[in-house]
């Protein structure tokens, strides 16, 4: 078993897609770096923190992107975002079977604040064009930095989400919430609290992700293969269903995951944090 979380973005790509099939566009040899970091005295990366290209997955052509959490937390800057937009526009043109996004990101890269914010919104629109064309966009989340901010929204714009139990999917990081409303609102150092609020198990129980896997690249690969036909058209009826589901959540009074799981009908909700992935999957998603 190889830990997905401990792999770099390129290692993940190499292991998720068919062996040797990844062909990178705008590779590091092109030295395409951020135009904004040098003046801040911050080191650049020759891929601006994301690798993109084409590959095959179980023999089918897929377009892929992987964000590198070790570079600026996977934050989206101008070039990073434009690479993702380019990949999605190319998918719209060339029509691969699916697009895989190996997301690991804190969201907008604050060093490129305004450009990053616009870039994330461009990614969102480009992704929705691909989805509207019936090409499924599959998001994999299992890196140590999770999938936050604008990328947390982008992930939920996709057709299908695969998470590991150590993956996290949310909007604001716990540190930001703690800084804003105090440690009693969200203790960012309480790891158990952080994971049961935003981690893969919670997201799977509540249906915010579609598959829950172990922190194992082979499991992520298998899950991605099963999702190749997971296109979910955005229709008015589908959005009404989604609206009702989200609206029902507002009936829950509180901010503690365990109470929410109980309210959702999960038996022995207190045991959830201790269950392994297989036992959790057996509980069923809501």
């Amino acid at each position: 078993m190889i830990s997905y979380a401990e792999c770099s973005a390129r290692e993940r790509l190499a292991l998720i897609v068919d062996a040797g099939s990844f062909h990178e566009w705008l590779p590091p040899a092109m030295r395409l770096t951020s135009p904004h970091l040098a003046q801040l005295g911050v080191p650049s990366s020759f891929d601006d923190g994301v690798a993109i290209g084409r590959a095959t997955l179980a023999g089918s052509e897929v377009f892929v992107a992987a964000q590198e959490g070790q570079f600026m937390g996977g934050g989206v800057g101008e070039v990073h975002g434009a690479k993702l937009v380019g990949l999605l526009r190319r998918a719209l043109r060339d029509r691969p079977r699916a697009v895989l996004l190996l997301a690991e990101s804190g969201g907008v890269r604050l060093h490129e604040a305004n450009a990053g914010l616009i870039a994330v919104s461009e990614v969102m629109r480009a992704l929705l064009d691909v989805r509207a064309a019936g090409i499924p966009v599959i998001v994999l989340i299992g890196g140590a930095n999770g999938c936050f901010g604008g990328m947390g929204i982008v992930a939920r714009c996709a057709d299908h989400i695969v998470m590991s139990d150590i993956g996290r999917l949310a909007m604001s990081g716990p540190e930001v919430i703690e800084a804003s409303h105090g440690v009693e609102e969200f203790d960012s150092r309480d790891r158990a609290l952080v994971w049961r609020t935003t981690g893969g198990k919670h997201r799977w129980l509540s249906g915010d992700c579609d598959q829950l896997v172990e922190d194992d690249v082979a499991e992520f690969r298998a899950a991605a293969i099963t999702a190749l036909d997971a296109a979910r058209p955005v229709t008015l009826a589908a959005l009404e269903t989604e609206h009702a589901l989200l609206g029902a959540r507002l009936g829950f009074d509180g901010n503690e995951a365990q109470s929410l799981w109980t309210a959702m009908g999960v038996a022995q909700a207190a045991r959830v944090p201790d269950l392994d992935v297989a036992a959790l999957r057996a509980l069923g998603a809501r």
Binding site: V79, N114, A115, R125, T235
Partner: protein, 233 residues
């Protein structure tokens, strides 16, 4: 600008937009055509509830009034920073709002954003930034984060960021910088009703923001990088 003053200037004193808490909603008549107005006020933090309230208004417009234009009036301090909202899936609720607006656009509704007071990051990304076009009033403010907070998170000296923000639109708040980067199409000057008329008349359907950013000099690389990906061997 106060939302009611803005609404009065655009649609007259009997504009029909109703405020419920921080949420604005109404159907107005503009140049003889009905228009859906959806918005927030009082620098509202956008949490699950407010995202859903906006989504509801969009879905109702799609279902009941095919093709009717939607105007988003934006004033937000950003996403709600609460553990409860994270637990309940605030990112999913935001995405849902974005998907609703995107579906409206695909079904032929023009979707316009107008930042009339302030816009910040998470509250803005699935409203004005996902519209066909987002415009702003000249006195509005748009930013990701205040400079002191940005200095803290990036661990860069605030003085350095302040100095850079004089010359580089990437760091500085302000609608002018968003225009330069293509994120905001244009500022509404002078007669606001005329500005809305023009905004409705030339709402783009394709996302041209990267090209605009390059042409205006505020975001020089994005469009060319996208093209390089399209052309890559």
């Amino acid at each position: 600008m106060d939302w009611n003053l803005l609404a009065t200037q655009l649609f007259g004193v009997t504009h029909g937009i109703v405020r419920e808490g921080d949420f604005l909603r109404g159907t107005v008549e503009f140049d003889g055509e009905p228009l859906t107005v959806i918005g927030t006020t009082a620098h509202a933090p956008i949490g699950v509830q407010l995202a859903l309230a906006q989504a509801r208004a969009v879905l109702d417009t799609i279902a009941q009034h095919p093709g009717r234009a939607i105007l988003l009036l934006i004033d937000t301090q950003g996403q709600q920073l609460r553990r409860r909202d994270e637990l309940l899936g605030i990112n999913r609720a935001m995405a849902h709002l974005g998907l609703c607006l995107d579906l409206a656009r695909r079904r032929g509704h023009r979707v316009l954003g107008l930042v009339y007071d302030q816009a910040l990051s998470g509250g803005f990304i699935t409203s004005g930034l996902i519209a066909d076009a987002c415009d702003a009033l000249p006195e509005a403010e748009i930013r990701v984060m205040r400079l002191p907070a940005m200095a803290r998170v990036t661990k860069l000296p605030e003085a350095m960021l302040a100095e850079l923000s004089e010359s580089n639109p990437v760091f500085a708040p302000g609608v002018g910088n968003y225009v330069a980067m293509g994120g905001v199409r244009r500022l509404w000057q002078g007669d606001l009703a005329q500005a809305l008329r023009e905004a409705l008349d030339d709402a783009p359907t394709q996302d041209r923001r990267a090209e605009d950013g390059a042409a205006r000099g505020g975001r020089r690389l994005a469009a060319s990088v996208v093209q390089q990906v399209l052309d890559a061997p």
